[in-house]
């Protein structure tokens, strides 16, 4: 089983590295998007990853800010996952830029009327906040490792100034206080940046499907759902010790995921049912195309069937004690959420803003059809492999799980 996991990792890493090199060697030439559908898989993957990050972070905030002690075991891990997903998101959107060497212009000459400029600034603040939260959550465990050789020892000495005496109860209490403050800043920050990503789409007047005030809320619910589901799947399958506490917490997380699926569906109903009722206009047409157009399966198979129906059934079964079902359901939700993100970005773009434009000038970049190419997928695979690697390495070298290293717990 383990060997298969590593083989899979190796294959994905090879694909990802190929995509990485192709991106630099050939720029955007192998990508499937064009000028009429200017954003594609990478943008969808980016909002998907950033949602995972916000969701995982908000889960940790339940512990640090709202004092939900039952979730305490997974809080540091949630921070690590949030950090890794943030990295995945940023790297994906960085590759999407036409001039990746100019990314820092957003710091040098920001235009704060642009939602996108806000995003970058808020992400930066959020990234720094994640790092410091992780530091204050873990440093109390570090003195134990100060004598070790290797990266762990080095980090332990570096981060605590060579300290070897264990942290006192008082100091731990003070760190918790700091964590509460940081988390309290982080919650509005996470809401602002992810609601802001919703606004980045919602404010675009030219795109009828996006131009909806519900978007920021929809994005936040989506983040909670996808991030929560990811953490649940990771917890159920990969938590090193499967004891009573693990069982209890898995059941709780399963219920949370179930509730969030249903709430997300409710919002989606609000968003879809109204244009469907009036039945005319470009918003309706674009929506109709999403549901019954050539890519109907993205909605019905990947989103509704594999992202809602199957997980809900599995969860209903799972909350009676079948933890594997909870894990599988959460995994399905977390993975198929990309379909929701694709359905959010692409359908509005493939709907022409001026009828007849496609026949006015013929070029493969000037069409209203889009399908991600292998190259685009390989770049996304690169980000996923990177995120996984970062998570794995951090869990191995830092006492993320119950204040201990992975191999000590296992």
């Amino acid at each position: 089983m383990r060997a298969w996991g590593w083989i899979l990792y190796g294959v994905l890493a090879a694909i990802g590295l190929a995509g990485f090199f192709l991106r630099f060697a050939t720029g955007h030439q192998l990508a499937g998007y064009g000028s009429y559908v200017p954003w594609g898989l990478w943008v969808a993957a980016y909002i998907y990853f950033i949602g995972l990050s916000a969701g995982a972070f908000l889960l940790s905030a339940l512990v640090y800010v709202f004092g939900v002690r039952r979730l305490e075991p997974i809080a540091p891990l949630a921070l690590v996952v949030a950090l890794a997903s943030l990295l995945m998101a940023l790297i994906t959107i960085w590759f999407d830029l036409g001039h990746l060497e100019r990314f820092y212009y957003v710091y040098l000459r920001p235009n704060f009327r642009s939602m996108m400029a806000w995003m970058v600034w808020l992400y930066t603040a959020y990234g720094l906040l994640l790092l410091s939260e992780l530091y204050f959550a873990l440093r109390r465990h570090l003195p134990r490792y100060a004598d070790r050789r290797g990266v762990t020892g080095l980090l332990a000495r570096l981060l605590t100034g060579g300290r070897k005496t264990p942290f006192t109860q008082e100091e731990i209490h003070r760190d918790e206080g700091i964590l509460r403050v940081l988390g309290t800043i982080g919650v509005p920050l996470a809401i602002a940046f992810h609601g802001g990503v919703g606004a980045l789409f919602g404010t675009v007047v030219a795109q009828d499907l996006w131009h909806s005030p519900i978007y920021p809320i929809l994005f936040l619910t989506g983040a909670l759902l996808s991030g929560g589901a990811l953490m649940t799947a990771v917890y159920v399958f990969f938590w090193p010790r499967k004891d009573g506490q693990w069982k209890e917490l898995s059941l709780l997380l399963g219920r949370v995921v179930l509730g969030l699926i249903l709430f997300d569906l409710l919002l989606e109903w609000a968003e879809y049912s109204i244009p469907m009722w009036y039945g005319v206009g470009s918003e309706f047409k674009a929506l109709w195309n999403t549901l019954f157009g050539p890519f109907w399966y993205v909605y019905w198979v990947f989103h509704i069937l594999l992202g809602v129906v199957v997980p809900v059934l599995l969860l209903l079964w799972g909350v009676r004690g079948r933890l594997g079902a909870i894990g599988l359901a959460s995994f399905l939700v977390a993975v198929t959420f990309l379909a929701i993100r694709l359905n959010l970005v692409i359908p509005s773009l493939v709907h022409p803003k001026l009828e007849g434009l496609v026949h006015a000038y013929h070029d493969h970049r000037l069409t209203f059809v889009y399908f991600p190419t292998w190259f685009e997928w390989s770049v996304v695979v690169f980000s996923v492999v990177l995120g996984f690697t970062v998570t794995y390495v951090l869990v191995r070298i830092l006492p993320v799980i119950e204040g201990r290293l992975l191999k000590e717990v296992a």
């Binding site: 030439q29 200017p38 036409g98 001039h99 060497e101 996108m116 007047v205 030219a206 803003k353 000038y361």
Partner: protein
């Protein structure tokens, strides 16, 4: 081999001749000449009484308007007017724009939308050239994260190719889909031969700057940038009308200063049949259509 070389030399010669022609074609039309009296054919003794007619090519009139606008000392208000009744759908403007700005494949500033009305045999065509509208309230401007695109005082929406990071947010925000992204492709790509043709290596003078496109790990702008129609700002600065205006064989495209009541465009946009695209969005386009 030698055949290939001589072919290349020949094409180079042709290309440079064509280019020389373009430069010459860019000379300002001598304005100042007063309207010419139209010579009427001798009138048959019992025929109708014909009015006295004067004829002047609109290009000459617009050239005079342009010179006045540039000399008057205040900022002009550039507008474009397109008479859809006169457009014959020849796409000459699209092509001349591509030549003027050395546009690569996939980048187009002024496409002509064709619309068929009715069914054969009761059929007719309608044509709608679509440049950048240089909106007075441009949705493409506030979205730019680095402020690489802005509205100038004369009304043109400018892009700084050296600042644009290529995020394409402005492309999704333009309701007229007037912006295109430069993917770094070239016309000779994947064709047999020896690399790029000379015309592909010529610089573009858009926005009054000199840019030579080049693909690479760090591409040379405008590769990797959002690009769009500039109302031929670089030509205006030298007293020339936009290229699409001068090449319109139907004389269907007009250009000038709308703050000058004497100008042709002023008179045209105040006609009751002047309208703009997607007026309901409040973008206040600077391109008017006569219908």
């Amino acid at each position: 081999m030698s055949e290939m070389e001589s072919r290349r030399a020949f094409l180079e010669k042709v290309a440079s001749t064509v280019f020389a022609g373009m430069v010459l074609g860019g000379q300002p039309v001598k304005a100042g000449a007063e309207p010419v009296k139209v010579e009427l054919p001798p009138r048959p003794p019992d025929g109708p009484i014909l009015p006295e007619l004067e004829y002047e090519d609109v290009l000459v009139r617009m050239q005079r308007d342009l010179e006045r606008a540039l000399k008057k000392g205040t900022t002009p208000k550039w507008v474009m007017v397109i008479d859809t009744r006169k457009c014959v759908g020849c796409h000459a403007c699209t092509v001349s724009c591509a030549v003027e700005n050395k546009l690569p494949p996939g980048v187009v500033y002024r496409s002509v939308i064709e619309e068929q009305i009715g069914k054969y045999p009761e059929v007719s065509w309608r044509f709608l050239p679509r440049p950048c509208m240089q909106c007075d309230n441009p949705p493409c401007v506030p979205v730019c994260p680095v402020g690489a695109t802005w509205k100038r005082a004369d009304g043109i929406v400018e892009i700084d190719y050296d600042a644009c990071i290529g995020c394409r947010y402005c492309l999704v925000s333009c309701p007229y889909q007037a912006r295109t992204f430069d993917f770094g492709e070239s016309w000779t790509q994947d064709t047999p031969g020896q690399g790029q043709m000379p015309y592909e290596e010529l610089p573009t003078f858009e926005w009054g700057e000199v840019h030579v496109r080049k693909e690479g790990v760090v591409p040379s702008s405008p590769v990797g940038n959002a690009r769009k129609c500039s109302f031929c700002l670089h030509r205006l600065e030298h007293g020339l009308l936009p290229q699409c205006v001068t090449t319109c064989i139907g004389r269907a495209t007009f250009f000038g200063d709308a703050s000058d009541p004497e100008s042709l465009v002023f008179q045209l946009i105040h006609q009751p049949n002047a309208m703009r695209l997607k007026e309901e969005l409040g973008t206040e386009p600077r391109v008017y259509y006569l219908v």
